[in-house]
């Protein structure tokens, strides 16, 4: 669906996006993971045709951003709320709908139901809470029935209920319409549910793979053993890749089989154990040397 080669953007002397290649297929949920200033939003702005790349090619189903109809299949939820604060939700959506040639009123009604917007329709957009606003933003971005939806940090500052509601609707639309989604995020659980993750750092893609493969490669699982006495702690600390915290011993293990065999071996010396899967955070630290914020 979307193919990008050698995408590059410079701002004065600073390189914001550095020769990025992307390959995104129909129906995928793709996450761009990175710190502030990693180049995520700049990449998105080029992909939606708002920013002209200094170099590189973008092809969306055979169209380039210079083509007239390039935007027709795109929906964008911008990082900051961009609708008119002094107008009602209803007016905002009505005006936005009329800016599309193929506007479908029934589809809009359906969206309002799904995103539970009907009860706040008469309120001014500026008076809504962050979560309500975001729901309206998403409804607005989906008005034109896009095939590809860009979400620029959609969940930042939202409560868990709103986040869940939004993803419930988006997953439903992915299922019903085959919607492809590209999102930038700071939230690891959002990246976790993606089909494909691009990790960006200083304008470059430092890794691109499925979540499982990234975890297998960069995030080791941790086995925590709770020892009964100091001699056990000493014994356990002799093992490879070990960290000791009071009576806790943290071991990096590659598989659950390895964990089971260690537990089996020390079952009489330990009082308890925990097994923790490697997370996106581990991947991120392994790749960029910094924790994600």
């Amino acid at each position: 669906m979307l193919e990008v080669n050698g995408l590059t953007k410079r701002f004065k002397n600073k390189i914001a996006v550095d020769h990025i290649d992307l390959q995104i297929n129909d129906g995928q949920l793709v996450a761009f993971l990175g710190h502030n200033g990693a180049g995520k939003s700049t990449t998105i702005n080029m992909l939606i045709g708002l920013l002209k790349p200094d170099a590189g090619e973008i092809q969306l189903n055979g169209l380039t951003p210079n083509d007239k109809n390039y935007n027709d299949s795109l929906g964008v939820v911008f990082q900051n709320s961009v609708l008119d604060k002094s107008l009602s939700v209803e007016d905002n959506l009505k005006i936005a709908g009329r800016l599309y040639k193929n506007f479908d009123a029934d589809f809009q009604k359906d969206l309002l139901d799904k995103l539970e917007i009907k009860s706040i329709q008469k309120q001014k957009y500026g008076s809504l809470s962050g979560g309500q606003r975001r729901r309206v933003d998403i409804a607005r971005a989906l008005l034109s029935k896009p095939k590809l939806l860009f979400l620029d940090e959609p969940s930042t500052g939202l409560d868990i209920q709103t986040r869940n509601k939004i993803w419930e609707v988006l997953n439903e639309l992915r299922h019903e319409m085959g919607l492809t989604i590209i999102l930038t995020t700071h939230y690891l659980e959002e990246a976790d549910q993606s089909d494909w993750v691009y990790v960006l750092d200083k304008g470059k893609i430092v890794a691109s793979d499925t979540v499982d493969n990234l975890k297998a490669r960069y995030a080791q699982n941790t086995l925590i053993l709770y020892a009964n006495d100091l001699s056990t702690v000493d014994k356990l600390s002799m093992l490879d890749d070990v960290k000791v915290l009071h009576n806790k011993v943290l071991l990096k293990v590659n598989s659950y089989q390895e964990a089971i065999s260690i537990i089996e071996e020390y079952k009489n010396d330990i009082s308890d154990f925990e097994y923790i899967h490697g997370s996106m955070d581990d991947i991120f630290i392994a790749l960029t040397g910094k924790e994600i914020k």
Partner: protein, 285 residues
């Protein structure tokens, strides 16, 4: 449909903000406050020989204030474009089927309509005010002509402001720009000081702007019948002297139609400048 929806948006945004409307109107009406408080008595003293001089002066002031309203309110309406660029609202609009030219055109058309409506409001407010103060009669017969003049004023000032605002990228510049434009508008339209009383250098500069012609266009329509009554027993050279002093005849254009032509020519010039600037910027990018 797309253009209509964008215009509808701009109008709704403008009229939903009462503070913005009031301050926009205040920018124009401040000249009336200054006039009533400081200038009226002084200027009137020189007019004692004219029948119903006060009424003539009132019409003259209404005409000038309408011209100021055209200058300031079209500018205020066009500021929406800067707010939209700065708040990234423009980015969202660009994602729709509307292209940049249609979006820009929507700002121009909305500003013209807003300018027209605000001029009508200013006219109504001042007519009522002077009707109460000086028993100024309200002339319905000139409504058509007056609306036409206001429309011309609205178009010319929308284009003028649009050209200036093309160089503005940040909303923080707007208050200073507003202060400059609204304070100079009073002088350019010859409201604080009649054109004929200005030093010749200053009046020459003014004549290269549409401001005195727009003011003269509206004033001639408003004052026409009162001039006929007031000057019926007076020598014709007194009348022509009065007209050129008060900025009712500029560059020999005796009637409204002459001023209208000058304003339309300015519209043409601004339109060409606007198109050239847009092209130039596009190429520069």
């Amino acid at each position: 449909m797309i253009l209509a929806s964008l215009i509808n948006r701009n109008l709704k945004l403008y009229f939903s903000d009462r503070k913005r409307i009031i301050f926009s109107l205040m920018g124009a009406l401040i000249s009336v406050v200054l006039y009533v408080v400081f200038l009226k008595n002084n200027i009137q003293k020189g007019w004692t020989g004219i029948d119903d001089g006060v009424k003539l002066l009132d019409y003259w002031l209404i005409g000038g204030t309408i011209a100021i309203a055209a200058i300031t309110t079209t500018g205020d309406a066009l500021h929406q474009r800067i707010y939209d660029i700065e708040s990234k609202r423009m980015d969202d609009l660009m994602m729709t089927n509307a292209n940049k030219s249609v979006i820009d055109m929507s700002y121009v058309i909305s500003a013209t309509l807003i300018g027209l409506m605000m001029q009508v409001i200013v006219y109504v407010i001042l007519s009522v005010l002077f009707m109460l103060m000086d028993q100024l009669p309200f002339n319905f017969a000139i409504s058509g002509q007056l609306l036409g003049a206001m429309l011309i004023g609205s178009v010319v000032w929308t284009l003028f402001n649009m050209i200036i605002l093309m160089f503005v990228k940040k909303a923080s510049v707007i208050p200073s720009l507003n202060a400059i434009i609204s304070s100079s508008a009073g002088f350019f339209a010859g409201v604080y000081m009649p054109l004929g009383l200005l030093p010749s250098g200053a009046s020459k500069i003014l004549k290269y702007t549409p401001a005195p012609y727009d003011a003269s266009l509206v004033r001639n329509i408003l004052m026409n019948s009162q001039i006929k009554t007031s000057f019926q027993h007076v020598d014709s050279h007194v009348l022509s002297n009065f007209k050129s002093t008060m900025g009712l005849v500029i560059n020999g254009f005796e009637k409204s139609i002459g001023d209208a032509w000058v304003c339309v020519s300015f519209i043409g010039v601004f339109l060409i400048a606007f198109v050239m600037l847009t092209r130039f910027r596009k190429n520069a990018k």
